[in-house]
Symmetry: D2
Subunit: 361 residues, 4 copies
């Protein structure tokens, strides 16, 4: 059934296959009168695009966005915003050898069984290339949030066993973007870079964790009890390719704490109610409480590796498989803008959902 | 906006406040012709209800379900199934002292700011008492799944630092239900029980982890790319009160593994394609692959503790607060049936969503 | 699939069978802080209830509403408002003789074929008794609209060939409610009453037209291009039992006019832009233009008549059928509050939908 | 809020402004494995496109469809089908003179007030040019329905006072397409053509009625009680530009009949249950009963006329307005394929919705 749309009041619909004519999206419910900075949007796409550094896939795509509707004289009009990004460097022949093989931990098998047919070229619809649509839609959401004083920032927290110090809190966008792994702690970044270069050489891959911090969120976003902001973020993040886990605030570690240690005491600061600590991660009862929203997403290592693996083909025969083609040794550096984009879209949607009641409280 | 419904083709709508007249739900989209075993449904509610053991809140509720519609001569008819559970032991006076105080890490503050008004009695709509609606709706879903050979089983994996051995895999329902903490490993269960009794005495609380295993799932459930089964489960779990994290398959630990270690090789077994390992947790590309679906949910310690905490009242004054009333020292034992129920509902919904294409593959 | 909910931001879910335990509904998305006048709501139900006059079914139901949730200290709280109305006068034995016969132009045949099972007692879910849920939900919507200065008024325009003069425009609620047929033109009302008494005696039925006028609607309600206000009203009206047609403004008659006769010229009045005429019926491009919204709904004669008809039973045998039991000779007088209720709900939903953009224009 | 999508399980999202870069759509939920005949789809677009005859607007557009995704080796894959149609003959200067004037009975005023901003060129989003998206999406739906033996046929029933004889039932597609007004009764067609030529010369316009007949519909389509097939069709039709009324089966005329005249008796024919008459228009209780679905849609005369009209500009000054540019004297001939398309999409959506229960009846 129809399941290629995301969001409620602010909604986008995504389309496109990795080796089809184009990827694209339609954003519906975007408010009128917002200035649209196309350079900003293209810049977000560039942060995700392939070929940007030695530690990501060398597929050569400019990922240039073409706007088709919804903008008039530089501003949104309230009508659907549609865009496409043409696919250019489609080396479908690279995939001829996997047309009939189920790649381990890939979606080949499940798509084939579910639909009875699948565009296998480059993973077709299951390719992470689809995340460019999310990044573009998230960029529009960021323009909307900027007007409201809300900022979304994600970064690489860990890759494999290499982890950024928890104590490090200098999360400036410049520091994050200053290295190809998008880790603000430069020493950690260098270790990760070396690790990834080694994995490229070995034909293997690895996982990691992205952390995201959203600041400036007003109190009140989130719709109990089945539209909680925490649940909406989890849904968004677990829908990103290769994600295996989501936690907010104190997360999995916090389960070991007593309530008396974990509870965030309320205090009064500058005339406003705040919490002294933020184990809640900025959300209580599914509603933002004004503190920074802080969550983490776990990504496994990419399934596509050139190391030889055992698998099965569509006729049920065992085969040895080495996935050639062009792949990332780790999704985390390019997942950073995707996490940001989806977070921004969720927050923007809930920002509008909260407006419904503006007159009534 | 409207956000008290859950599901797509199979959908339930929940209503009720902790100290209002009744809790209840309406299930819409339930297929016709399914035999409805009311004893089974009441039994599921009993697993969640208060007062069932010394380590849960003593609030005295029979939680008896009353069916209002949708069943005719013992079978579902395809029309909405509505039910209510009357609230009986409402000691609202217990809450008089907190009518004007924001309890730390509770939803008091955010509800009050979002809606401008809130039924504060027992937490009102934000109370975990609402999860009885989920358990009842999940029980109906389980009846549907049983017909399809699908079974959902959850259990207590850990409480605080006390963790069940990973190697223990005897997950029979009987073992799980044989102790009040719902941990199938009896030695772990006893340690947890002692820990919780100690916390009751101290007026404190603690968190834990629930694991869930779903067996018998056919290949093909899940709707890419924004209705992935993994995302749907995450959304369901992160919507349960006090949940702070979700992970599937290898989860957060798996990020440290190489792709070559993490990938699930395909093999042929009894003429069918299977995976040799299950790091994917039964879902690949957002679609079930036929293996057991395995995920974990982290729950923080309950926010309501009788230990004195610092907080703020609605006028902005600092106060010392001891939350009296009747509370659980740990949500995990009673969260087990809630996790099962929501998982069952998600799977049943996706089971129907997958039927849409039955003719076309 | 799930299809017993109505509305988008403001949504209700309906349940109940004619001869089941209760009818009821859950309203979700209702704004907080609205004073809830229960007497008003019960009064609306009384306008629809059976037994209110000699020209409607004598089924004896008090149709007393019982509120279960969502109201605290006389005000809405933003949480779901649930209510039930117990069924009391269920003479199911009346329907024993039709358990196996498809009543002509009834839903017996289609429900049986679609679901394979149906609660045949009193029509089960297909009974017009379900419209009491709509009336109750519409009554809540009216309370919301009253705050916004919006009023909804419906009345009987015609029954059979007896039609109210077009020139008559005194549409006061008092005049409409002053006679059992709900026609404000008293002479027409008397003719209709006589006609209906005659039909009761003959065991036959007849159709009619309800007109609805909504005043005080601000400019801007309606969501192009697939959420047009006109389309939403049509959807609501064509979902009412026995409705066969919907038209807005100049409607079917207007197709014979030239554009130069039909177009509504804009004029300036009291500093505001208005239209000189209202052939548009208050909606242009799917959006309210500030003029009265005016539409009409055609209802066929009730299918249940005691006159003998030819039909077929479930085994495929021809039978002669006389539908005994208790039925209305014409649905129009009791459809008036149903049309009002559904119109009010649509307008209230769109009123909230329009609020989303309040900051952006 | 988001409102540019149509359908539930089968859903399309539309985008584009009359004088923007492109119109387009994304179809989501289309089943896999359906052969896609692009010539057929282009042919449907050609039936709607401007410039096809002397009685429609001479705007010169090829309306060539470009497919972007969702088709692989000639078949649908179950992933979103996206397409665009580039706008070519955009004479936006034609509209310079109306940039600041509200055209009577147009959407200029309401869009401007709702959004605070509007692309006025050619009506922007409110232009009937958007219906090309509906025709393309409906063409895909027709391919799906053809596999199921369902056929949708619409035609011009009347224009102004010129009406086709009710007794004429030879509704072949060839006869309908044999004249530019799409009326199968050739004598009526000629009268209408003459009438429209006269109106072009006078700079005026007129309305008319389209009738639609859907054959081969299985019993069971339609989802009570708020997803009735009749309500879904009404919603679809009242969302088409310039529509003012909808009726099904006996419609507005039928309200004058007695139940005993109006009821459709059940009979047994070739072992199946049928109705002797079809006053129900193929739908009973909101569910298709296997008979032809028959409905009519009323369209007003186009608002854009070159005859001088009184209006108001955005500063509130009275103006005399003659809408130059290129317009249709009557929408009906080009509305025929739009009505068909929307009807086909509704039926295809409900066809899939009915599949959900395929196992359970």
């Amino acid at each position: 059934m129809a399941s290629n749309s995301f969001g409620e009041l602010l909604k986008f619909t995504s389309f496109g296959e990795s080796h089809g004519a184009a990827m694209g999206g339609v954003i519906d419910g975007f408010p009128p009168g917002i200035s649209i900075d196309l350079d900003f949007i293209q810049h977000q796409l560039n942060r995700r695009k392939p070929g940007q550094s030695a530690i990501v896939t060398p597929r050569n795509e400019s990922d240039s966005i073409e706007l088709l509707s919804g903008i008039f004289e530089g501003k949104s009009t309230g009508t659907p915003i549609a865009f496409i990004v043409r696919n250019k460097d489609q080396r479908s022949k690279d995939y001829g050898n996997i047309a009939n093989v189920y790649r381990p931990s890939h979606a080949d098998f499940t798509y084939h069984k579910k639909y009875g047919i699948a565009d296998y070229r480059g993973g077709g619809r299951s390719s992470a290339r689809e995340t460019l649509v999310r990044v573009a839609c998230g960029a529009f959401a960021k323009l909307l949030l900027k007007n409201a004083g809300i900022h979304v920032l994600a970064f690489t927290k860990s890759v494999g066993e290499i982890m950024m110090p928890d104590a490090f809190t200098n999360l400036s966008p410049e520091l994050i973007e200053s290295n190809p792994v998008r880790c603000p702690h430069q020493n950690t970044a260098r270790q990760i870079e070396l690790k990834l270069e080694k994995l490229v050489a070995e034909g293997d891959s690895i996982g990691g964790v992205v952390e995201c911090v959203i600041s400036g969120v007003p109190v009140g976003l989130g719709e109990p009890v089945y539209g909680k902001l925490s649940a909406a973020l989890a849904n968004a993040m677990m829908g990103i390719n290769a994600s295996k886990g989501f936690e907010i605030g104190s997360g999995f570690q916090g389960v070991q704490k007593h309530g008396s240690q974990q509870n965030d005491s309320f205090i009064v600061e500058n005339g406003g109610v705040k919490t002294k600590t933020n184990n809640s991660g900025g959300i209580q009862g599914g509603i933002s409480n004004g503190a920074d929203i802080v969550f983490r997403v776990a990504f496994k290592g990419p399934a596509s590796i050139s190391k030889t693996q055992k698998s099965v083909d569509k006729t049920g025969k065992s085969v040895n498989l080495s996935v050639t083609g062009r792949h990332d040794p780790c999704v985390v550096p390019r997942a950073v803008p995707v996490v940001e984009a989806m977070a921004a879209f969720v927050i923007a949607d809930h920002y509008l959902r909260n407006e419904v009641y503006c007159k009534f409280r």
